[in-house]
């Protein structure tokens, strides 16, 4: 005689079994999902201070996101590659990241030449890619000219055109408005990012009130700047507007040692790092440069906490591209969350809709129809960058006026217009 199995008992048993199976399946699925980290590739120049900053900041951001539980249950994993400041190496690293290591997004370099070499591969391999520090207009111009192919590329910092504009705006307020300067000489290194920078300088500096007396472009391999400074001094401008990134320590030190009586302002990327004072043995006193952020200035609620945490962890404050790299990891994670997947095209759509308050300001990208598609929006309320001046070993913020009110101080050998007028 078979054991009597009541229908009710069988149903109950079946329900419990299916519930158990369902639960196990759910647990299994989430476990599988949670076990699979979302990889973000970071390609940068380890040997350069600005390059190392990119990686450090990205790793910090990833740690923070993971501490809060990750994205959609998955952890973010940063996979780092050193490109040895070489475009060819960066391309190979990019191919490895995509094909071998299966990353979902790539953060690449602060050098325009490198980013421009990687960009066609982002298009070919359909990989969302963003740069935290390169400046060349071409990066976003390519996206505008061939959107279907290049939509995977994003420009996570101000393009050269807007960097120049912000410097002109600063010059208008400080150099012309407060110091009554009238003339300038543009001095920049011959590189991809300075070609559009200089074009914009030559347009907007006169509009800001500074007549451009000369425009000097020098080889990035230059080590002796004496002839250049002598050439500039012969023209007697009130200020030198710079566009330098590959060089920085040498021209600054030589400017100081030779006691060139003309102040330097503009963009000097190396001068934005906190170690620059030590690197130049203090010769950078009085140098003005545009930067992403300044110590002690809260461009947003997250600026100062990030700066302090980074400085504590790594012993030096972040380079300008550290801020942007940190923000990028956060809003990439945010985009993945909004898209609900890591599929490339969905991620691109979500990234386009980014509206994120990062350490450098409010991050949004220009649209398909704008001139600089996928570049960072510039302007009040978005990202403007700041201008800092080195004073007594510290970076002091001097622009924009609504965030910074410090006075400009120059070393004694620098001659300002009022002084020459008084003589």
């Amino acid at each position: 005689m078979s054991h009597p199995i009541s229908v009710r008992g069988a149903l109950l048993c079946a329900t419990r079994l299916s519930a158990a199976v369902g639960l196990a399946a759910a647990v299994g699925l989430t476990a599988a999902q949670a076990a699979e980290p979302i990889k973000i590739g970071v390609i940068s120049e380890e040997a350069a201070v600005a390059g190392a900053s990119i990686r450090h900041a990205a790793e910090m951001a990833a740690d923070e996101i993971n501490a809060k539980g990750g994205v959609n249950g998955s952890k973010i994993e940063i996979v780092a590659y050193d490109d040895h400041s070489s475009a060819a190496d960066a391309v190979r690293a990019f191919q490895r990241a995509v094909n071998q290591d299966h990353v979902k997004a790539v953060i690449v370099s602060y050098i325009s030449e490198v980013v421009l070499a990687v960009e066609p591969w982002a298009a070919r391999l359909h990989m969302p890619t963003i740069t935290p520090g390169a400046a060349s207009n071409d990066i976003s111009k390519r996206v505008h000219d061939d959107y279907a192919q290049y939509k995977y590329m994003f420009h996570g910092w101000l393009t050269s055109a807007f960097i120049a504009q912000s410097i002109c705006d600063g010059a208008h307020d400080n150099l012309v408005g407060k110091l009554h300067m009238k003339t300038a000489v543009v001095m920049s290194e011959d590189a991809a990012w300075t070609t559009p920078l200089d074009v914009r300088y030559l347009q907007c500096l006169p509009q800001a009130g500074l007549q451009v007396l000369d425009h000097i472009r020098f080889n990035p391999d230059t080590t002796d700047f004496t002839p250049i400074f002598n050439q500039i001094e012969a023209k007697k401008p009130d200020v030198i507007i710079t566009g330098i990134s590959h060089v920085g320590v040498q021209p600054t030190v030589q400017w100081h040692d030779q006691q060139v009586p003309i102040p330097m302002a503009g963009q000097s990327s190396q001068a934005t790092t906190s170690t620059f004072w030590k690197d130049t043995n203090g010769a950078t006193e009085g140098v003005i440069t545009a930067s992403a952020a300044s110590p002690g200035v809260a461009l947003s609620p997250t600026t100062i906490p990030f700066t302090e945490a980074y400085t504590k962890k790594f012993g030096a404050s972040p380079s300008y591209d550290g801020y942007t790299s940190y923000d990028e990891v956060h809003y990439i994670a945010d985009a993945i969350q909004r898209a609900g997947s890591t599929d490339a095209d969905k991620l691109v759509d979500a990234l386009e809709k980014t509206d994120y308050v990062g350490t450098v300001g409010r991050v949004q990208f220009y649209a398909k129809t704008d001139e600089f598609t996928h570049a960072m929006k510039y302007g009040k309320g978005f990202v403007t960058g700041v201008e800092i001046q080195w004073q007594n070993g510290k970076q002091v913020c001097i622009w924009p006026a609504d965030k910074c009110e410090a006075k400009l101080i120059f070393p004694s050998f620098v001659k300002l217009p009022q002084q020459t007028a008084a003589q």
Binding site: V49, N230, Q250, D257
Partner: protein, 291 residues
Amino acid sequence: MLASQILIDGFAISALYGLGAVGFTLIFGVSGVLNLAHGGVMLVAALIGWFVASEYGTGPFLGAALGILAGLGMAYLTYFIVVRPIQRSRVIPAAEQEIFILTGTLLWGIMIQVGMDYLFTDNPVTMRPMFPGVVNLLGVRTPRNELMIAVICWVVIGLLWLLVNRTRAGKQLAAASINPRGLTLLGFELSNIYLLVWSIYGVLAGLAGVLLASFLGVSSGNAGQLTASAFSIVVLGGLGSVSGSLVAAYVVGYLETVTAYLIAPTLRPIPALLLLVLVMYVRPQGLFGRR
């Protein structure tokens, strides 16, 4: 005014080129070695000098002294790790020694550069000027440091001349550069002479590196350029000829300076390169070469 600027600027940079080139040519003249790690040796001296001076707050002089010592150390390492094993090797055919030394020192130079990158990053470093301030020379505002560097270079070169022409060890050096076999027949130990020349080289290259850091600044990216530059000057002047190297250094230094001032800073290295090509075709042994 422009002429004075060119005169002074050119003089300082040429003196510095000269110091580096003299060491390079001495090594070739006495031991037949073209040391392609030359830039690396200068780099190490500059970086160590800077590091000591800034991390430990010692003055620029102590930093410079330690930098020179570092240069000396690196020269010895180059000799004992790369050059001597190749010279004494049983597996390398004698006729090909030169090629192997070239390749070996090239590789060693790369290792030095990457190693320095790793330890110090590729940021340029400058030594605090040993003699700060500016003076007015011929109506040109010139940093005191720049002048003193030129003076130091010439003093050292003078000392070297004294060493080679007035001391016994120096005369052996000179003899070795003309006829090493003859010297061994006379009973002199060549290995001691090689050690001496590498020591002198280490001090010269170390000093050149430290002074360069003080005047213009040095970064690991410069290493290759420094070697190529020394190589070019030495060949122009005549391989193995110290006076030739000095003259060539001034020719190159002034050519570059004049180009930078009167033509365009971007074209700075071109005329010197073209001159080198011309000399190679017309008089390959260089201006003062004897081979």
